[in-house]
């Protein structure tokens, strides 16, 4: 075979391949368009039936509509798509009615099985559906997805467990974080735990003794934000004993958020024994949030700390104690020399006092038009 013949043959093969590829692409596009048309057609048919059922489910003649929805079968997941879109928008009995339809259709059971499906999209959608429906029976299936190879599926699982919102869901999330290298960054887990709310209090309190410091830290933070007051004693123990810096900071922040005067003694003790500036600053801030005047002396000592972050946190905290704290701040600001802890806290004290003055001037300025209005009236 000559070179010319080889070139002609290669060009012919190329041409055939290009034509085949073009035909293949066109067929795939057409198939997708048809599938999309079918999906939209189904949505147009199903949406009114579903919405009408939701509007009249309390009436006697609604059972016919329920039967239509339960019996509806399709090659696409149009019904599930429709319901997944509606569930997060509803609450109360109307939402429960929708979940009941899903159960009776076997959709919840199918979603549990689909968490093992080969395509990641299907696994993620299954998790979303189980989460939106608040399907408690789906917890073990969704929890397994926390270790999925696809990060989007893992995130969908975290969100779903947050939506299911039970203690078991919280336990699954915290257990996942206990792993040496969890597949989910801590922030989405925190958001889901917050979404679960007080139902997560039990597992979170247990997590204060977790092996992984990351879990202890998160448990402190979430317990503080949720305001779980019975956990205060255990959080104080974390502040006192935990070898992890982050956990101690989280504990101090949580105690500040809880705002219990009973925690003041432990926070003051922390100011005396703690070496890490970040923990000291968090403890000062917590004392300010609690606002007990009895913490004045300890904060007055902390305002002379060598670390400026601690000094400013102590100054801010003193500013929150009201007149007794301001009196101490004025005293520190007036003395140019060394403070009680060996350093001058004057810089922090003067900064806090200056901010107080500016705030009061601003408040007066905001009040002025009102006073003028009164004068004219």
């Amino acid at each position: 075979m000559t070179t010319r013949e080889i070139l002609v043959l290669a060009a012919a093969v190329n041409g055939v391949l290009i034509v085949a590829l073009a035909i293949g692409t066109a067929l795939i596009k057409q198939w997708r368009r048809r599938r999309e048309r079918h999906r939209l057609h189904e949505l147009t048919r199903l949406r009114p039936v579903l919405l009408r059922y939701l509007a009249i489910w309390e009436d006697d003649d609604a059972s016919d509509l329920a039967e239509i929805l339960i019996a509806h079968r399709s090659s696409s997941a149009t019904f599930e798509e429709l319901v997944s879109g509606l569930l997060p928008k509803l609450r109360g009995a109307d939402r429960s009615v929708l979940v009941d339809i899903l159960r009776r259709r076997g959709t919840i059971q199918q979603a549990c099985q689909d968490t093992r499906f080969r395509t990641s999209l299907r696994r993620a959608l299954s998790a979303e559906l189980l989460g939106s429906a608040g399907a408690v029976e789906g917890i073990p299936f969704v929890a397994r997805l926390l270790d999925d190879r696809n990060p989007q599926v893992r995130l969908a699982a975290v969100r779903a467990l947050g939506r299911i919102g039970t203690a078991e869901a919280a336990t699954a999330l915290l257990a996942h974080l206990e792993q040496i290298r969890p597949g989910i960054p801590p922030q989405p887990v925190t958001m889901s735990l917050l979404r679960i709310g007080v139902a997560a209090a039990g597992p979170l309190r247990e997590a204060l003794d977790a092996k992984n410091p990351r879990v202890r830290r998160m448990a402190c933070e979430v317990l503080g934000v949720l305001g779980v007051i019975p956990a205060a004693g255990t959080i104080e123990r974390v502040l006192h004993d935990d070898p992890d810096l982050g956990a101690r900071i989280g504990a101090a922040q949580a105690l500040g958020r809880l705002g219990l005067p009973g925690s003041v003694a432990e926070l003051i003790r922390t100011l005396k024994i703690e070496h890490e500036a970040a923990v000291l600053a968090a403890a000062c801030t917590a004392l300010g949030q609690i606002g007990d005047p009895n913490s004045g002396a300890a904060l007055n000592w902390a305002i002379g700390h060598a670390n400026p972050t601690v000094r400013v946190a102590a100054g801010n905290a003193l500013g929150l104690l009201g007149e007794p704290g301001l009196e101490l701040l004025r005293g520190v600001a007036a003395v140019p020399g060394a403070g009680e802890a060996g350093h001058s806290g004057g810089d922090a004290a003067r900064e806090v006092l200056a901010r107080q003055v500016i705030a009061s001037i601003k408040a007066m300025a905001d009040l002025a038009p009102v006073q003028l209005e009164f004068r004219f009236n």
Partner: protein, 124 residues
């Protein structure tokens, strides 16, 4: 039978409210954006308006303010239905002249009860 205009850019919610309020015996006009909603209100002169807050073209707050400025429409009760759940958002809704506020996710049953209460109050 009362005439109600519902304005929401979410087709699911719009459809659901249309069915729910129609099933409750009201005559419902549904619109998907603020501008069209305001036009419908001006045309229909309904006894009540259900407004979403965040909508394309014209927000629910803007629609409500426009109603309150128009002497012919100023007395129509407005119920806000919105995902904006912050205290400041609720205040803004009432400051704009809203009469009630329902947060999403919502219960259509509860919303229908509030609609009835507002209509009853307006009829007094």
């Amino acid at each position: 039978m009362s005439s109600i205009v519902v304005v929401d850019d979410d087709p699911d919610i719009l459809g659901l409210l249309e069915f729910k309020l129609t099933a409750a015996g009201h005559q419902v006009t549904a619109e998907a954006d603020g501008e069209a909603g305001l036009a419908a209100i001006q045309e229909v002169h309904p006894e009540l308006v259900v407004l979403d807050v965040m909508m394309p073209r014209m927000s629910g707050i803007e629609v409500c303010l426009a109603l309150r400025r128009d002497p012919a429409l100023a007395d129509i009760p407005v119920l806000f239905l919105t995902a904006k759940a912050q205290e400041a958002d609720v205040q803004r809704g009432f400051a704009a002249g809203g009469n009630d506020y329902v947060m999403k996710p919502f219960s259509p049953r509860e919303l229908a009860t509030r609609v009835d209460a507002l209509l009853a109050r307006g009829a007094l």
